[in-house]
Symmetry: C2
Subunit: 238 residues, 2 copies
């Protein structure tokens, strides 16, 4: 207990003490058959950085994880999922209890229309895979928030991973998805995006806020974005 107390003192202020934060991390995995799947390059590092910072700031953290490299941080409640549909179910059931929701996962936009029960044999020279749109979790949260006029709703942070027309795509996403903040990065840029330890992001707010951050560690990005989210929280007890 003495050690815990010292750690607590050394840890400094706990600006998110008493707050509940939900973070999604990693890529979803959309199965084609029992052994094959479609996924993306997300490593989970950005989401893990958010989970660590929120935990260190005293929040009660729920981390919803798809495919990730490495192990989720300790001291947070981690829930493993595979597909976008599973992630949506877990997230939507928990969103109403949250103060801040950070959607750092790279959710697959499409999934195979049919999931084959047995491994597809490689008979044909070509194969056509029919894909259908996955549920849009950020959009679902936005719609749920809009249906709650006057009620206490979490601050929602979305991500836009783009390879071109970053600002236009990010602002368009912010607007369509009704999130409070959007963190945009060009995943094709050196030192940014998937798998790296650093990121280069711009943050846009529904209130017109815009900030272009230089290349910094994913942890520093998480700190800045959580500061921005905290300043948008409704006063406690409301």
């Amino acid at each position: 207990e003495i050690v815990d107390a010292i750690v607590e003192i050394l840890a400094g202020p706990r600006p998110l003490a008493g707050r509940r934060v939900l973070i999604t991390a990693g890529g979803t995995l959309e199965r084609i058959d029992p052994v094959r799947y479609i996924t993306n390059d997300s490593s989970g590092k950005m989401g893990f950085a958010f989970a660590e910072v929120a935990r260190d700031w005293g929040a009660d953290v729920t981390l919803v994880c798809g495919k990730t490299d490495g192990t989720p941080p300790s001291g947070v409640q981690t829930i493993r999922v595979e597909s976008a549909e599973q992630m949506k179910e877990v997230v939507m059931s928990r969103v109403p209890q949250m103060d801040i929701v950070v959607k750092a996962a790279a959710v697959a936009d499409y999934r195979p229309l049919h999931r084959e029960e047995h491994k597809i044999k490689k008979k044909a020279e070509t194969l056509t895979l029919s894909l259908v749109r996955n549920p849009d979790i950020l959009q679902a949260i936005g719609e749920w928030k809009q249906a709650l006029p006057g009620k206490r709703a979490p601050v929602v942070v979305g991500f836009a991973a783009e390879t071109m027309e970053l600002e236009r795509n990010a602002l368009d996403k912010l607007n369509r998805k009704k999130c409070d903040l959007i963190v945009a990065n060009n995943v094709a840029q050196e030192g940014a995006g998937f798998g790296t330890d650093t990121n280069i992001v711009s943050v846009y707010g529904a209130d017109g806020f815009a900030e272009h951050l230089p290349q910094m560690s994913k942890k520093a990005v998480a700190q800045r974005v959580l500061e921005l989210a905290k300043s948008r929280l409704a006063p406690e007890g409301l």
Copy 2:
């Protein structure tokens, strides 16, 4: 040096001393666009087990790795690749120098016909992905061996990961691919296949050999299969 000498003595016999062994491990990764790809559940554990055993038995080991969980074993030459086409190029350029080739990687059978330069935007409700057959590396090795009559060629070990009709599919593959040994497992079975630490395999030889192994560690499977491969090696110096 004293420690090395002790390790060498403790390590016991080195039945593959002076032999060159090439092992492929993990799954290949076939890109759809800059962030999305198709892959499979292979963890690389089976290939890593082969690399460890071959190294401990004194072989000069080359490990050709796709996507894997965890880190390749030390003391082997590791070459990282992404796609089946890259893996084929690396493997085919090295096969002629090898004594044993173990194709433990799960090579994607199909890849996207087109690789998009920019991230595909999720506009449409449905999407059709055209796939084409990947090069068959095991088949290419078999054809290369057949074109070398009387010459010294490596003992080739293939794998058959199936979810049904295991024996029929494995014997058919052994015959078509002209490998010396085939290791067949039902990847849908508990305690076998992808990601697990154990495997349940049957081994079939071009010489009519057949052996059904019980559930055992992937390392024990590698030991048994390398014994079988070693007994099929041409005498040294030939």
